[in-house]
């Protein structure tokens, strides 16, 4: 691929029609007083917030602040010690996610939700082809026609800027950035409404990071996805998120519009966190 083609491909990914946020909409997700204790140790405590369709929320804090624990509690990968998580199903009804039937839970995990792991190996099957990694989620929701599945997989590889002729290669032959983009394609192929991401750019070179951020920003705006992104990188939070939650020792320290929290931090801890960033 020449540099020029690369630039064209990039341009289409960065300027996309925006699905407009509507102030009359109902929240997609409600988190109410969620706490998780590991024995006597606090994982996260008394966390409450709402998330609306199309909204990107960043959860930031240092390692050990409880942000991944919170993400796992909301996405049902962990069971909270107490509290409630409500999700608006596609029929408009608000349901408590820990009280769903097994079939409903499967629908969320396989179709309506996505989970992008920091380490792509945790979210991909490394020994099957890239096409199969994307196609698998489609088969899980009942798609059977081989040609259709392969075509959809190939379209999604293109969307995440992976050359179509890599469709039969295994992800172990991919670079870190490509694996991460493949993981994103695998998650988005079913048309989810909510994506959870745990340090999606962690461990990537900065140039690869910039490309991924670009891609994520375009996809989120175009598809009107809601997303919860856990990151310790405040620059990633500024570029991707509308709203920010700052956590420390399992508790929420400050929350608000992302640029307001970063440019006019109110809490002592947030001021410390932001003043500690190295300027380049």
């Amino acid at each position: 691929m020449t540099i020029n083609q690369d630039a064209d491909c990039l341009r289409d990914a960065t300027l996309v029609p925006h699905r407009q946020m509507d102030l009359e909409e109902q929240p997609l997700l409600q988190v109410r007083s969620v706490s998780k204790y590991y024995g006597r140790r606090i994982g996260c405590e008394e966390i409450s917030f709402d998330l609306w369709p199309g909204e990107v929320l960043a959860i930031v804090g240092e390692s050990g602040s409880g942000k991944t624990t919170l993400l796992n509690c909301i996405s049902t990968r962990l069971t909270p010690t107490s509290g409630m998580v409500n999700y608006r199903m596609r029929d408009g009804s608000m349901r408590e996610v820990f009280r769903l039937t097994e079939a409903e839970k499967r629908f969320l995990m396989r179709t309506d939700w996505g989970f992008v792991h920091q380490n792509p190996a945790d979210g991909l099957r490394m020994s099957v082809s890239a096409g199969a990694n994307v196609g698998e989620r489609l088969m899980a929701i009942g798609k059977r026609h081989y040609g259709d599945i392969r075509q959809t997989a190939s379209d999604w590889l293109e969307q995440v800027e992976i050359d179509k002729d890599r469709i039969d290669d295994q992800p172990r032959a991919f670079s870190g950035g490509m694996r991460q983009r493949l993981q994103i394609a695998r998650n988005l192929v079913t048309g989810p409404r909510l994506i959870f991401m745990d340090e999606p750019t962690g461990g990537l070179d900065v140039s690869v990071q910039a490309r991924l951020l670009d891609l994520l920003r375009g996809l989120v705006a175009e598809l009107g996805l809601a997303a919860i992104i856990v990151t310790h990188d405040l620059a990633v939070a500024r570029l991707l998120s509308h709203r920010m939650v700052v956590m420390k020792e399992g508790r929420v320290i400050e929350t608000g519009l992302t640029d307001r929290v970063l440019d006019d931090p109110q809490a002592p801890y947030t001021q410390l966190l932001i003043s500690s960033i190295l300027q380049v």
């Binding site: 960065t14 300027l15 946020m21 670009d214 509308h242 307001r260 440019d263 809490a267 001021q271």
Partner: protein
């Protein structure tokens, strides 16, 4: 938070009422630095108001509070949004984002752009967010960059490597392309040469004719006198200064309460 629509709203799309701002520096023994208090003024559609006063007096802070980028400590910042007034001081993040998309545009002093995004797309982006077709938005962005004398060979490059003046012109194109009824300008002409300063003066005149309410900081006295209709002297809001509230803006605000 939401006030009913009235005819005052169309002619006064922004009303700032008794706003106070101070910074508490928790890392320096929690000292409080007062910035402004008793900020009262009203913007009129089709007028350009200029924030005046020496540097450090709080002009940029006022713009940033109106945009929701700084938190005001007290007071109201009422902005017209569709059929209602929204108070930016108490608005939740998604409401502030909606107001930024539709009502308040902002040309900041420095460009903050996504890495790898070409200049023409940086310029077109805010217009696309307002729902404009991508190709039409790119065409309009190209025409605006040409008007601002940005060489066409730069349009497909990301602005990170541009000079200060080139970056500022991308920023100006981005801010002036949109259809916002309120436009905030933080020294848009600071790093421009005389020819481009004239272009910006022309753009501001056009916005005024379209009925846009503008609020700006201009250190250049010539620009100020060419486009300014009203001077708002920020030193009278500087804390410890005498509070002189205009009785006119007070009565307008009373209409909403």
């Amino acid at each position: 938070m939401n006030k009913p629509v009235s005819s005052v709203m169309q002619t006064n799309p922004l009303i700032v009422s008794d706003v106070t701002k101070s910074f508490t520096m928790h890392l320096r023994g929690s000292i409080t630095i007062p910035v402004v208090s008793g900020v009262n003024f009203t913007l009129k559609a089709g007028e350009c108001a200029v924030l005046g006063g020496p540097s450090g007096v709080g002009k940029s802070s006022i713009l940033k509070m109106i945009y929701g980028n700084y938190a005001a400590n007290t007071g109201q910042i009422l902005v017209s949004y569709r059929d209602r007034m929204i108070d930016i001081v108490t608005a939740d993040p998604r409401t502030t984002i909606a107001v930024r998309r539709e009502t308040i545009g902002y040309v900041s002093q420095f460009l903050r752009a996504m890495p790898r995004v070409p200049a023409i797309d940086v310029a077109a982006e805010a217009l696309v967010e307002q729902g404009e077709d991508i190709e039409i938005a790119r065409n309009k962005a190209g025409a605006m960059l040409a008007r601002l004398n940005l060489p066409e060979k730069l349009w497909q490059l990301p602005p990170a490597t541009f000079s200060g003046g080139e970056q500022q012109r991308v920023n100006i194109a981005r801010g002036f392309l949109t259809n916002h009824p309120v436009l905030l300008l933080d020294e848009p002409t600071a790093s421009l040469d005389a020819a481009n300063r004239e272009v910006v003066i022309g753009l501001i005149r056009e916005k005024k004719q379209q009925g846009v309410a503008l609020l700006g900081i201009f250190h250049d006295a010539d620009v100020r006198s060419e486009i300014g209709d009203v001077i708002i002297d920020v030193s009278r809001f500087a804390q410890h200064a005498d509070r002189t509230n205009s009785p006119i803006s007070q009565s307008v605000i009373a209409d909403y309460q």
